[in-house]
């Protein structure tokens, strides 16, 4: 027990890093997803194509390869220099962005065409129709899948420990090797992840109930 008590403050420091990266990356990822989804649905072939290449490239490669590509690969070009946290945030964001793009695209396409027609017939522009009529309905439908992807992305942040980010997993590793109590430390790390994800689920359920279409 003493070992856990001693390790806990350090692990919680790591949790802070994990949450910091997660929150920024998930917001960025969502914005990327929204833009890419709209590009994917735009009536311009080249834009559709760009969006599709992006989504396919991200979905078709492992997360860890994307991380190494951005942190080691891009940095090796000596054009910009990304620190590990920035590289981590970017990787999680563009990774989540590709999945969000598909979720948002499917959500938009699931809204009945009649909704768009009704809005356009009133005189709304295409953009207004998206903003006031289609997206609000689509988001309600997407919420469970968005939650799911957010959880996956949160768990993906644990892979950032391999480029030396002092996140929860990294701190766990340090504590486990320092104390020789791998079982206890990894159990605690697991419990902390679980609690955070459980809280996330509760928040998502709450929002879902609040915005339900009657």
């Amino acid at each position: 027990m003493d070992i856990i008590v001693a390790a806990l403050p350090i692990l919680l420091k790591g949790l802070q890093v994990t949450l910091y990266i997660f929150v920024i990356a998930i917001i960025l990822g969502f914005l990327i997803g929204l833009v890419v989804a709209l590009l994917r649905l735009a009536p311009i072939k080249i834009l559709n194509w760009i969006a599709k290449v992006y989504v396919d490239a991200i979905r078709g490669t492992p997360f860890i390869v994307q991380l190494f590509f951005i942190y080691f690969g891009v940095n090796s070009l000596n054009l910009i220099s990304l620190n590990s946290t920035t590289a981590g945030i970017i990787t999680v964001a563009i990774n989540a962005g590709a999945y969000f793009a598909e979720i948002i695209r499917a959500g938009i396409q699931s809204i009945d065409k009649g909704q768009t027609e009704a809005a356009r017939s009133i005189g709304f522009t295409g953009t207004q129709t998206m903003r006031y009529v289609v997206l609000p309905q689509a988001f309600r439908r997407m919420l469970p899948t968005i939650t799911n992807q957010s959880i996956i992305s949160l768990k993906d942040t644990s892979l950032l420990s391999v480029i030396g980010i002092a996140d929860l997993t990294q701190q766990g590793q340090i504590q486990a090797s320092a104390t020789f109590e791998a079982f206890k430390i990894w159990l605690v790390v697991g419990v902390i992840y679980f609690i955070i994800i459980y809280l996330l689920t509760l928040i998502a359920n709450f929002i879902e109930r609040r915005v339900q279409v009657r």
Binding site: G114, A118, I122, Y132, V213
Partner: protein, 244 residues
Amino acid sequence: MSIITVKNLRKSFGTVEVLKDINAEIKEKEVICVIGPSGSGKSTFLRCLNLLEEVTGGEVVINGHDITDPKAKININKVRQEVGMVFQHFNLFPHKTVLENITLGPIKIRATDKAEAGRLALELLDKVGLREKANSYPGELSGGQKQRVAIARALAMNPKIMLFDEPTSALDPEMVGDVLEVMKQLAKEGMTMVVVTHEMGFAREVGDRVIFMDGGYIVEENEPNELFGNPQHVRTKAFLSKVL
């Protein structure tokens, strides 16, 4: 002076030609009912009047604006504000209350003050007999109520023309009367209306003119009593013998 002029209108979906050379003149305050068998192109014709369907050829002039002329640089969104449309499946916004459905257009497009838009919406709800449903969601309404809200929503933009695309076809029979009653009232107030319908009784009673379409053409058009009582064309006769 015609408020709607259609000249040589053609519309194809891929290789299927749905409208073949449609010509029509509709005057202000006229109520035109469009009838015909399914697949005759009547809904497509209606949807070309506010460019919900892109036309393949010909001209559609709404209130002086040639909306089919790419050189005219007409802002179709502006024109659509003057042309209300009511759909077979209502297409109310399910995430908004009845009141919000009606006020959304005026508030967002016309920048009408929220309170003023609300007051106007309640007036329109009175007109369609649904003031008490202002705070309900569309999902809580019957089909007939939904359609009356949809009419109110279209009227909130204060349009000069109202298009109705089979407004009663998706309703239970006992709901049809209420909706037709609202439409009759609207006609009486002098609204220019184009109504695609299977309600021959309504066409006969309220229509100033009835257009019979078949196979992508306007086969015959006349005053309702003439068209129903003394159809000239064999196809009109055949159709009417089936539906009357």
